[in-house]
Amino acid sequence: MQDMKNLSRRGFVSISGRAGLTTLVASAVGVNLGLIEVVSAATSGKVTPFRFAMISDSHLFSIDDHKFDGMMADAVDQVMAMKPLPDFVIYGGDIAQNGRDDQLKKGIKILSKLTMPLKVIPGEHDWYLDMGEAWRGHFGKPTWSFDHKGVHFIGMNSILVRDFWTKAGLTPEQRMGVMEMLESPIAGPWGVREEQLEWLKKDTKGLRPDTPVVVFTHSPLWDYYPRWNFQTEDAPEIREILSKFDRVMSYHGHVHQTVYNKIGNMSSVGALSTSWPWPYPDVKLEYPDMRMNRSDPGNIRDGEGAQYIDLEANFQGTMHYDPFNDDMLKPAIKDGFKV
């Protein structure tokens, strides 16, 4: 585990000042992702109030001046305009569209405008061209945890599917193509798999039940709509491991929409993308008021944006969607909601 205090803006900037900006931001991010192992004591259960922000699903193409570049940059600008500024930013996966290194590098350059630490988890679009090689080169391990102001934060790679490509003799590009299609019947459900489940058990073993825990994954930790992988196959095991805690918050990308759910001790919130909105699948939601309005197809910026979460002393959280276009939010979520 690693303490966020080691990732102060000063430290981040000092790293950034030693080499070219793109490389340096990646280096700083690498430090964030567990290259320095710091053993921290179990938290006290009390939170020093703070804010963190989330940007997700930018789906950058290998096309110069693509519209998604500017929308990701707009989300970064919105985060930098927040008052107060967030202590750190989590990126929820799918920086790239086709997993290409130039797409990841473009995203890193855009994200380099953030002056606070950045934590990153992968999405399937980042991963399946080279099985995460380029992604890990930039960001390090996809599985990490750290403590910050009394909260234990966890990030995991939830988009691991079973090998469908080796026996079929697929090229990396064909494999990526399968994974790019949301409703592809080939890849099947994804999850974090055994190794990360074991890691999660060890990571949380010494923590007291009253420890505030926040977990980040690309996909939701509940069966929302498996056909589109709006799920994590081993989410029940994750929830079981985390069931010893009084309260757990889960934040995820992939769904490109506002969505909220609560199962047991875990609340779950989906992030807006910065690229395009997915439609709501035909699922009866427990909290339908949390859905956003249907996007205007004539307005490319309608239905996307950033978000931030304010955590209070008693580990109460308030989720704020920060869309590009304010009137996409329904009254129940327009001014933030408790998670």
Binding site: K67, L182, G188, I300
Partner: protein, 196 residues
């Protein structure tokens, strides 16, 4: 040839007539001039009369699903001219969700008039995707419509208001169309893709 015939004679009766004809007849018709082909379709009207034999129905279904399958590929980016920015219809409309084909023709606020689904498809190709529109009466457009409508078949008609999300048909993995099984992963060659 079959798709071309469908393009030339789009009314349902003509489509059914064309699908009932044997493959041999289709091949022969391909050699005819356009006017002669149309005449053949018109004079073949008795073959469109129900009841159809199981074999005839299977042939018709096969022809339809071949077009649906082509539409599914187009929907997911198989024709490069449909996009200049990498986006395909499936980016915003997986399983044709939220395309609400059964609600067309309808008033489209962005355009200020009542339009057909094919006009909406071309709008999406040109604006969000920055691509070249399809021929509104061409095979590719028919295939796009066939894919969308096939997934919504049986859905109650409801207005597709921009302020209200209408629901797509729920399809189990791979059963919305008889995509030939790839034999890999969860798509184990049954053609259904859901036999995990």
């Amino acid at each position: 040839m079959q798709e071309k015939t469908m393009q030339q004679a789009s009314p349902d009766s003509s489509v059914r007539a064309s699908t009932r004809r044997s493959a041999k007849a289709c091949a022969a018709a391909a050699l005819l001039a356009a006017g002669a082909a149309m005449a053949l379709l018109m004079t073949g009207s008795t073959s469109a009369r129900e009841p159809f034999t199981p074999e005839e129905l299977a042939e018709q279904q096969k022809a339809l699903l071949a077009v649906v399958d082509h539409g599914r590929d187009l929907w997911h980016g198989s024709l490069p001219s449909m996009s200049t920015n990498g986006l395909a219809c499936g980016n915003c409309h997986p399983d044709a969700a939220a395309s609400n084909p059964q609600t067309f023709p309808k008033y489209q606020a962005d355009l200020g008039k009542v339009i057909a689904l094919r006009e909406m498809i071309n709008w999406c190709i040109q604006v969000p995707q920055g691509g070249k529109p399809l021929d509104v009466s061409g095979d590719d457009m028919v295939a796009m419509e066939a894919y969308a409508f096939n997934l919504y078949r049986g859905e109650a008609i409801a207005p597709g208001l921009a302020s209200q999300q209408t629901s797509p048909i729920v399809v189990k993995s791979g059963v919305g169309y008889p995509k030939k099984g790839s034999g890999i992963g969860y798509d184990k060659g049954t053609g259904l893709g859901s036999d995990k």
